[in-house]
């Protein structure tokens, strides 16, 4: 067990003209996560701290925050692994602050939505007892990217998002590739037009920070490079739109 000092960012845009840090000492076991420590502080020291969390097991993507300057999930980060006696918690960078550690995901989700994150295929209307058949290797092309939990860590780490408010960000672009390369999706040209923009996929410079911080192994940088390669005409033949197959005997 060790004692650590947790510095919590405090700021309420409705009332405060500037931010401050409140400091709390807590005892941490080897298994104590930063979220455990914050919830202990909230329960026993200062219940006014605002933070967002839900599943406590890196599935919901709610508790993302800057922990010692790096975007991490608080539930997925152990106090011990930080190897520091001082832990500073700030709201996720590049997200507007609602209050304290709670960030506003409105713009982030809007960008995700602008990528049309759903299968577009006219033949789906006539599906009636039929289904798309995909080979395992066709599933492997997009499965990794579908593990995204929209926690926003990649968005907070991206240097382009840091200054370019029109850039969709790594999460949205990786999701665009996820749907583009899905053999059930037939809207390839429509999708490419969305990202072939002055503030689209070209504003990624492969700094790789998104993949570095992703807690689910999604590797958004890989998705973005493959998306850009597709736009450049590479691997165009690798995608064949699946046809509906009747499973009625």
């Amino acid at each position: 067990m060790k004692r650590v000092r947790i510095r919590v960012f405090r700021y309420n845009p409705a009332h405060d003209s500037s931010a401050r840090y409140d400091e709390f000492e807590v005892e941490a076991e080897r298994w104590t996560t930063v979220l455990d420590a914050l919830l202990y502080i909230k329960a026993h020291r200062d219940h006014s701290i605002a933070l967002r969390y839900s599943c406590r097991m890196a599935s919901c993507g709610s508790c993302g925050m800057m922990i010692n300057g790096i975007p991490r999930l608080a539930c997925y980060t152990k106090v011990y692994e930080l190897e520091s006696d001082v832990i500073t918690c700030r709201p996720l960078a590049n997200f507007p602050i609602i209050r304290d550690l709670a960030a506003d995901f409105g713009a982030f989700f809007a960008k995700h939505k602008s990528m049309k994150p759903y299968i577009i295929n006219d033949s789906v209307d006539s599906i009636d007892g039929k289904e798309f058949i995909q080979k395992p290797e066709e599933v492997d092309k997009y499965l990794q990217f579908s593990y995204c939990i929209k926690c926003g860590l990649c968005y907070a780490a991206c240097p382009t998002v840091a200054t370019d408010k029109r850039f969709p960000g790594p999460q949205a672009l990786a999701q665009m590739y996820r749907y583009l390369i899905d053999s059930r999706d037939a809207a390839t040209d429509e999708r490419l037009k969305v990202v072939d923009d002055r503030h689209g996929v070209w504003r990624c410079h492969f700094a790789g920070s998104c993949s570095m911080v992703c807690p689910k192994g999604v590797d958004p940088a890989l998705g973005i490079q493959l998306l850009r390669a597709y736009l450049l005409g590479m691997n165009r033949g690798s995608k064949v739109v699946a046809e509906l197959y009747s499973n009625k005997k």
């Binding site: 700021y11 845009p13 500037s18 931010a19 300057g69 790096i70 709201p91 996720l92 960078a93 590049n94 997200f95 507007p96 602050i97 960030a103 492997d140 092309k141 997009y142 499965l143 990794q144 990217f145 593990y147 780490a157 240097p159 998002v161 840091a162 200054t163 408010k165 410079h205 492969f206 700094a207 790789g208 920070s209 993949s211 570095m212 911080v213 992703c214 807690p215 689910k216 192994g217 999604v218 590797d219 940088a221 890989l222 998705g223 490079q225 493959l226 850009r228 390669a229 597709y230 450049l232 590479m234 691997n235």
Partner: protein, 142 residues
């Protein structure tokens, strides 16, 4: 404050997020440096059209220790920007970044794999070698 964007500080700190972020930072800085040098080089070499004395006056201004050090830095910037630029060209065409699969914990992003990291450090090493060769040529004749 409310917007909470990292701003240009997000670009300027190369110490977080590993080798790729460092390469991003250096590629950007060397690109700006090389553009500044390119413009200055066009201007300085245009002195040739004003005759021999103007050319020699310009050479006397640039062929100094300070001038040689600046040129060495330019050589290093040029070597890194070119080598890392080739790496980016390849990666942005979807090559050398790995293939999507089924990630297993502990997750290791294939796009940031050993190959890419090695290319970054080779680019840095090439820049250092080019600078040393530049120093040998520039100061070797002095």
């Amino acid at each position: 404050m409310k917007e909470n964007r990292e701003g240009i500080k997000g670009w300027l700190n190369p110490t977080r997020y590993g080798a790729n972020r460092f390469a991003y930072w250096l590629q950007r800085l060397t690109g700006l440096g090389l553009l500044a040098y390119f413009i200055a080089h066009i201007v300085e070499t245009s002195n040739i059209v004003y005759g021999k004395s103007a050319w020699e006056k310009m050479l006397a201004f640039t062929q100094t220790t300070e001038g040689h050090i600046i040129l060495m830095v330019v050589i290093g910037m040029c070597a890194f920007h070119a080598a890392n630029g080739v790496r980016l060209y390849i990666a942005e065409h979807g090559k050398g970044v790995g293939r999507p699969g089924r990630p297993e914990y502990p997750y290791r992003p294939t796009s940031l794999g050993l190959g890419m990291r090695a290319c970054i450090w080779v680019s840095v090493a090439l820049a250092a070698l080019a600078m040393m060769y530049g120093a040998y040529v520039l100061f070797g004749e002095a």
